[in-house]
């Protein structure tokens, strides 16, 4: 699977993302944000970082980068599009995913591993997993507090668009296990057709045991496998 990893000025997880994608068998390559042609690509992963310095609002300026027109086109064609951390913020700003990411509840940057439970398999990153599976992934963000309008969020939950929730060691999405105040402990959400998803913790940082966890690989493997299904 050929996956484009767009690089905005200020992006910083691009090499890690390519490394992890290659580790699960994808042909991942970096594309500069001025690129206007992603025609050979079968999927996109928007990596983490601070695109355009996160100035104004994370993702606010990045959404206008030329490459985003192509990302939208691929999304509309049903190709898998994943945003990780800052990439998630960009997808929200670009209107490809509902909701926004506000500052963390405690107004502090959070860098630590968190537990996540798979609550829906209707997105391309969770399709290959069992509901109830608990994963450990590093979180690394200041604006990771997912928020949508109440009715919208209820609709998303009903439609299986909330795909991962922060949880405790037994897989329960408790208040205490919610690191940043996200609505309904949402850590990853998808669009209604499941081909566009945003995840706040970093799967690429959990793709080798020596670094603490390899659980992120499972999400990326699911992403890569999804080509066949959509």
């Amino acid at each position: 699977m050929r996956v484009a990893v767009p690089v905005f000025p200020g992006t910083n997880c691009e090499h890690d993302t390519v490394h992890a994608l290659r580790g699960v068998g994808a042909e991942a390559e970096l594309v500069w944000h001025r690129e206007t042609d992603l025609s050979g690509c079968e999927g996109v992963v928007l990596p983490g970082g601070f695109a355009h310095g996160d100035y104004l609002r994370p993702g606010a300026i990045a959404r206008f980068s030329p490459v985003m027109a192509e990302v939208k086109r691929l999304a509309a064609e049903g190709k898998p599009v994943l945003g990780i951390c800052n990439g998630f913020q960009i997808l929200c700003e670009a209107g490809l995913l509902p909701g926004v990411l506000l500052q963390n509840r405690d107004l502090r940057f959070i860098c630590r591993p968190v537990r996540l439970v798979v609550v829906s398999t209707s997105s391309m990153i969770t399709r290959a997993l069992q509901p109830g599976t608990v994963l450990t992934l590093p979180l690394n963000s200041y604006e990771g507090n997912y928020t949508a309008e109440v009715e919208e969020f209820a609709r998303m939950e009903a439609a299986g668009q909330v795909v991962l929730r922060y949880c405790d060691e037994r897989g329960r999405p408790t208040r205490a296990s919610n690191p940043n105040g996200s609505q309904g402990n949402a850590a990853a959400v998808a669009n209604s057709s499941g081909n566009v998803a945003g995840v706040m913790p970093h799967p690429e940082r959990a793709s080798e045991r020596v670094l603490g966890s390899a659980d992120g690989r499972r999400l990326l493997e699911s992403f890569v496998a999804s080509r066949a299904r959509v």
């Binding site: 000025p9 200020g10 910083n12 997880c13 090499h15 890690d16 490394h19 992890a20 970082g49 601070f50 355009h52 310095g53 996160d54 100035y55 107004l107 502090r108 940057f109 959070i110 860098c111 630590r112 590093p138 690394n140 200041y142 970093h202 690429e204 940082r205 793709s207 080798e208 020596v210 670094l211």
Partner: protein, 723 residues
């Protein structure tokens, strides 16, 4: 600038300087840029070893890691700017140290911060602490260099003068190494990055080269604001320019801005340079020549480019979306000429700005208070109540869990952090090789105050032992020397002793100093801080052991062993005396080169052997705190026997704790014997209490209470947010 220095300028020029010239000399000859008080002492540091590629004198030290890999390392302070504005002061400190490292052609791969404040009971200290941590994280996270370790310390000595030091490590291939030299006549100076504004005019000379009270209020330069976004683009653009071979020399713009970035490279190349200030891209109109020469606007680099490559360089800069302008030409001869609005406004011998800077051999005097301090020891009529002492120590912000700090830092980017913050040393792997770099940074103002020479030497041994606990062999040291007012003879004495202490320990370990930084005038209202050298030490481990000993790998039933002198009872300068009695006195014990080397060699052997799941050094807080930390991390209690309660709190150097399965005790002892290190069985990991048993006293603390105290110390004090 003193009258005498002004006289020297007149002698060099053969006339009175013009304002832009005076501006250049005054910043370049400031304490901060010229090291005029310290240079004469720094010469005593050992700086050579076969693996040193670049020693002190360049932007960063560079050492050879084998197989074509080099590491660049540098440490720097941003103390005064962080007191003025903690967030931006710390942020721009991070930006500056990163530039020093990629100026060498290296990709910056990791940061460490060493930060010191007054007591957290003081709202000002809390404000500064929160701001500094915010600034380091805000800049480091966004620029994309993980902060993988550091130190936090709180002591009243820093109440009026916090210390903010930052160290950066970079990696490069041998053929990527670049130096800060202007190159051949005809080379073109291209200024890259941020537009120049009136930021921090005179910052180097004013803020970092005079005491704080003298610079209060309106005399302060405008606060410099960091822009990690610009720096990120600058890193990527520069690394591309370098890898294409389009740049022959490069110099960052830090203290003294454009003056330094033209004079130093020309001085190093033995050339002259013509600079046209009208070509400098500016943020606001109307900057004068002295302002343009002294501005400390952040995120700027000067690249020296062969004339045939200028077009390519400008095009690449545009592609990375950074501004670039051709501001000068390297000339034959040795004159630095500056043009502004079509006129020649400065004409000085380039090298005179650096090489002819004054060197002071300031008077040294052993402090009058030292003898009193040494004899001021506590004599204990009866042992203290051990359980509450231990809980009090675990709840002390300087000893407690620092995760409140490092969770605000991205410490995982680049997927190389095998061991991140929270252990004795951080361990970074070099992907695609079997190599790992273990790094530790250590400071302790209290023991250095009691004996600067012994204190500084002990820090070097401590840092070396820390990297060895990850299996690494020590390779090189950088030092950040934070001191009071050098015009006082006691301070210069402390400084001189510190240099000798570092030099002795480096000789003892056969490792060089490859760079550092000196920060003087850390005083407020005449009160100098404790002499506070901070040691950064880089070690190489190859291959990286499959499992590196970690604090959390202890299990019930395993044994606790002490490696090193078991009967140490020197409490001078200990955390125990400070925290329990508010006492700082006595004379700390001296390090011992043979014991120091043996401990390092044994620790590295054990770490590589896969025999010991946990290794931890005995430092601040002594054995009691070291064991408590292992127990808290592993989630299991311990029962430990001791002969004299003071053994639990002594901070004598060259000692560490190992945890082994009972069956492996013999092998541990055999390894220790091979290195002639005493191994003493202390007790076992078991149950859910920290249980220390002595002949007359015992301490028994529930593990859960100990963990609560240790984990809660920082968050509970920082609960109230002061934006």
């Amino acid at each position: 600038m003193t009258d005498e220095e002004y006289g020297s300028v007149c002698t060099i020029l053969g006339r009175e300087p013009r304002p832009p010239e005076l501006a250049m000399y005054s910043v370049m000859w400031s304490e901060h840029c010229s090291y005029k008080s310290s240079r004469h002492h720094l010469r005593r540091l050992p700086t050579e070893a076969p693996w040193v590629v670049v020693g002190p004198g360049e932007n960063a030290g560079v050492v050879d890691l084998g197989d074509g890999w080099l590491a660049a390392l540098r440490i720097e302070s941003h103390n005064h700017p962080s007191f003025v504005e903690p967030y931006q002061g710390a942020a721009t400190g991070v930006g500056g140290i990163i530039r020093d490292v990629f100026t060498m052609g290296a990709r910056p791969v990791a940061l460490w911060d060493q930060i010191r404040f007054g007591s957290l009971d003081d709202p000002l200290a809390r404000y500064l602490f929160a701001g500094v941590v915010g600034g380091i994280g805000g800049y480091g996270n966004a620029v994309g260099v993980p902060t993988v370790g550091g130190e936090v310390d709180f002591d009243a000595t820093y109440a009026g003068n916090p210390l903010v030091n930052v160290m950066c490590l970079g990696l490069l291939r041998r053929d990527q190494l670049l130096l800060g030299t202007a190159g051949e006549p005809g080379s073109v100076a291209v200024l890259l990055g941020n537009a120049t504004g009136r930021d921090g005019i005179g910052g180097a000379s004013v803020l970092a080269s005079a005491s704080f009270a003298e610079t209060s209020g309106s005399k302060r330069p405008a606060v410099q604001v960091g822009d990690p976004f610009e720096e990120k683009k600058l890193i990527e653009a520069c690394l591309e320019l370098f890898s294409r071979g389009w740049v022959t020399g490069v110099q960052d713009l830090g203290a003294a801005g454009l003056s330094c970035a033209t004079a130093e490279p020309a001085g190093r190349a033995g050339t002259g340079i013509d600079v046209d200030l009208d070509r400098v891209h500016v943020r606001e109109p109307g900057l004068t020549a002295p302002e343009l020469l002294m501005s400390e606007s952040q995120e700027r680099m000067m690249a020296f480019v062969p004339p045939g490559r200028v077009e390519e360089v400008l095009a690449a800069a545009a592609r990375w979306e950074i501004e670039a302008s051709v501001v000068g030409t390297v000339t034959a001869g040795e004159t630095l000429r500056v043009f502004h609005q079509g006129e020649l406004v400065a004409e000085v011998p380039a090298a005179s700005l650096t090489e002819d800077a004054p060197v002071y051999q300031r008077p040294l005097g052993e402090p009058w208070w030292l003898e009193d301090l040494w004899s001021n020891t506590i004599s204990f009529v009866q042992p203290p109540e051990m359980g509450s002492v231990l809980l009090g120590m675990l709840d002390d912000p300087s000893l407690a869990d620092p995760s409140w700090v490092y969770r605000q830092y991205d410490h995982m980017l680049f997927l190389n952090t095998v061991v991140g913050p929270g252990g004795d040393a951080s361990l970074i792997r070099i992907r695609g090789t079997e190599k790992g770099l273990a790094v530790s940074t250590d400071g302790n103002g209290r023991i250095c105050h009691l004996d600067p020479r012994r204190g500084a030497a002990r820090l070097v041994y401590e840092a070396a032992l820390n990297v060895a606990l990850s299996g690494a062999t020590p390779l090189a040291v950088v030092d950040n020397l934070n001191f009071g007012n050098p015009e006082k003879s006691e301070i210069m004495w402390q400084f001189s002793e510190t240099i000798d202490g570092i030099a002795e320990a480096c000789l003892g370990l056969e490792i060089p100093v490859v760079g550092g930084n000196v920060s003087f005038y850390n005083e407020t209202d005449g009160r100098d801080i404790y002499p506070t050298p901070v040691i950064g030490l880089l070690g190489l481990v190859e291959p990286v052991p499959p499992t590196v000993p970690r604090l959390h790998r202890g299990r019930a039933g395993m044994e606790l062993w002490l490696l090193g002198e078991p009967r140490a009872i020197n409490l001078a300068g200990s955390a125990f005396e400070k925290i329990t009695f508010g006492h700082v006195g006595g004379r700390p014990s001296a390090p011992d080169a043979a014991a120091g080397r043996a401990a390092v060699a044994l620790a590295a052997d054990l770490a590589r052997s896969q025999l010991v799941p946990v290794l931890h050094d005995v430092s601040e807080g002594g054995l009691a705190v070291a064991i408590a930390e292992i127990c808290i991390a592993s989630g299991v209690g311990a029962t430990v026997d001791y002969a004299d309660w003071r053994h639990l709190f002594s901070e004598d150097p060259h000692r560490f704790v190992a945890v082994v399965a009972p069956a492996d005790g013999d092998r541990l002892q055999a390894a220790a014997a091979r290195h002639e290190v005493v191994a003493t069985r202390l007790g076992v990991l078991e149950a859910d209490r920290l249980h220390f048993r002595g002949p007359t006293t015992t301490a028994s603390v529930a593990l859960a209470s100990a963990a609560r105290a240790w984990r809660g110390a920082l968050p509970s004090r920082m609960g109230e947010r002061v934006p």
